[in-house]
Amino acid sequence: MRAKVFAVAVAALLAFSTAACAEDSDTPSANTSGGASAGGSIKSGLKVAFLPKQVNNPYFDTSDNKGGKVAVEEFKGSYSETGPSEASPSAQVSYINTLSQQGTKVIAVSANDKDAICGALNEARKAGAKVVTYDSDTKVECRDLFINQATSEGIAKNQIKLISDAIGPDGGEIAILSATANATNQNAWIELMKTELAKPEYSKLKLVDTVYGDDKDEKSFQEAQGLLAKHPNLKGIISPTTVGVAAAARYLSGSTYKGKVQLTGLGTPNQMKAFVKDGTVKAFALWNPADLGYLAAYAGAALASGLITGKEGDTFTAGKLGKFTVGKDATVLLGDPFTFKADNVDQFNF
């Protein structure tokens, strides 16, 4: 009998200790005391939750805690970030279910699967939540708005501009180091870059080669090496993939081509910081994840406050980022890619 009492006591202790810590962490979210409506006529006290693909990821830490949170504090809502520790759709579903039970008014989610989380999102919407996807979209019918970080046109324009600025007015031969040969987004960007190069202001730039590093570090490194061996007059490389641009930068920075052959692409500040500082890369681009999260929070709040419904042509103001218009398929575009240079790259950590 004593053993049984002991066992029950252990179980009780276990259950109680977890429940006790549960109570602790519940208090901040219960605090929904609103202030004066700061962000236009956005309702105060809105519960806004960010659900990234996974927590412990610097990219989402920036978009959620450095962007979304700032916006939610501006319009006096209550902010939370929650999510699975591994980027799996089923784990995300469990968190969506939790949010819909908590009566969350705005769910900003970066989808791990465009289909698998649909059912759960629609259940949450039935329970009264507005769903905004950011970074990675679901099917159109499962969310109210998608915040698109950048368009293909925007990326192509930005990349050509950056390489042209880096090489200078004399122009010369350039090449592209892409990911895989059948990556849909890469190929769309490359096509649009060619359109962009046809413009008169870029007449001195000549695209001589496109190679594929398959988004593998070693292969990208070798392909960059190969490009320079094959084209002795090469003046610049564009690598619109984070793996490729980092590998190419590593090769250039350790070679005699450093500073002579220009490089730009889509990269993350943490990977590229060192190469910007040592002069291998003058500028590279990506979107600003903090702005993406910030815009997602405002878009969700505008929906939840009844300011917009998410139909094409709706407009709303997103704090410091200004006015945005809802486009086709209930999509809001963040804007042009964000350019990172020596003077701003240190402000970012992702």
Partner: protein, 338 residues
């Protein structure tokens, strides 16, 4: 101190060795009741009809696989390939659907057959070649998951009829609980009867305690183990069918890592990892306990990292717990006889 409502009828007619483990069943069930009671009082939303709906949806695939896994672990073996069997089933089902197999019963039958074959491959290596199940199923864990990627690549097949996907998660009329829980209940009764009320079940405990002695006592050790692995394969593929329709998406990475959730529940349920001890009531209690606790903590805004720590601690407790209970009982008995 103990609530009479949770002492189970099964506990009364166990033999001596099992009786000790009835205590652990009670611990699990009392912990479950406490989590529900304290959770409902402290956290808004815990215990609501919708809460139980979501917990049930989460429990179904884990419970389906935990049933045969309990039997396997009782014999002293383990099957770590179950989540990959689930994933490969999803991939093949998605591929069949994409290639025009549109009959639901046919799809389910083909998937169960596939699961049986995958389980039989495990069983063959373990029983015929006498390899350790841990090594074999770690191998097939990688192999089957790899095959799933060969079949589907990084595509997802998601264009199933809405009626199929809706039916998979439809509630029992008048309730919020999904009807598939009835399927799980029926399967639980079948596996429970086999384990606790047949000579086969007694044979499983015997081979878990001492395979050699069991063989001499006339238990068909190899043949029984072979069919156990076939049954884990089939149940894993059944869980895969449910998984595909629940998430309306067949992907090669479906259920990645689920084997750990299943093994965690089996161990927390009081089944000894060395075999020979444990029962289904504790395991089913543990499956529900783990999901309820996780959902309750999520509702209380506990972060994912903390949740992992809680689950890990529970697992340690589950391995240490039964031993502590056993030791305390032993000491008590010695003191009484002294």
């Amino acid at each position: 101190m103990t609530t009479p409502a949770v002492t189970t009828p099964a506990a009364s007619k166990q033999t001596g060795a099992l009786k000790r483990f009835a205590t652990w069943d009670v611990v699990v069930l009392v912990a479950l009741v406490l989590v529900i009671v304290i959770g409902s009082a402290a956290v808004e939303g815990v215990g609501s009809p919708q809460f139980w709906r979501f917990v049930t949806l989460e429990v179904v695939p884990i419970a389906i696989i935990a049933l045969p896994m309990t039997l396997v672990v009782i014999t002293g073996e383990i099957d770590l390939s179950v989540a990959s069997v689930l994933g490969l089933t999803c991939a093949v089902m998605g591929d069949l659907w994409a290639h025009g197999v549109t009959s639901l019963p046919l799809l389910i039958v083909l998937c169960l057959l596939l699961g049986a074959v995958l389980g039989a491959i495990n069983g063959l290596f373990i029983t015929v070649f006498g390899l350790p199940s841990l090594a074999v199923t770690i191998g097939t864990l990688a192999l089957y998951r790899g095959l799933a990627y060969v079949v589907l690549g990084d595509k997802a097949v998601a264009d199933y009829p809405v009626t199929w996907t809706d039916n998979a998660i439809a509630p029992i009329p008048g309730l919020t609980i999904p009807w598939v829980i009835i399927v799980v209940a029926v399967l639980a009764v079948v596996f429970g009867l086999v384990l606790h009320a047949t000579p086969i079940g007694r044979g499983l405990y015997a081979m878990g305690n001492n395979a050699e002695a069991a063989r001499f006592a006339g238990v068909a050790v190899a043949r029984t183990k072979f069919w156990l692995f076939v049954s884990t394969g089939m149940m894993a593929s059944l869980a895969g069918v449910f998984w595909t329709f629940r998430f309306a998406s067949a992907r090669a990475d479906n259920g990645d890592g689920l084997e750990l959730a299943v093994v965690a529940a089996v161990l927390l349920g009081g089944v000894s990892i060395f075999g020979g001890r444990g029962g289904l009531i504790g395991v089913l209690g543990a499956v529900v306990l783990l999901s309820t606790l996780r959902n309750a903590l999520q509702l209380a805004n506990v972060q994912a990292n903390t949740l992992t720590i809680v689950t890990g601690s529970l697992l340690i407790a589950s391995v240490v717990g039964p031993n502590v209970v056993g030791m305390a009982r032993e000491r008590l008995r010695r003191r009484r006889t002294a």
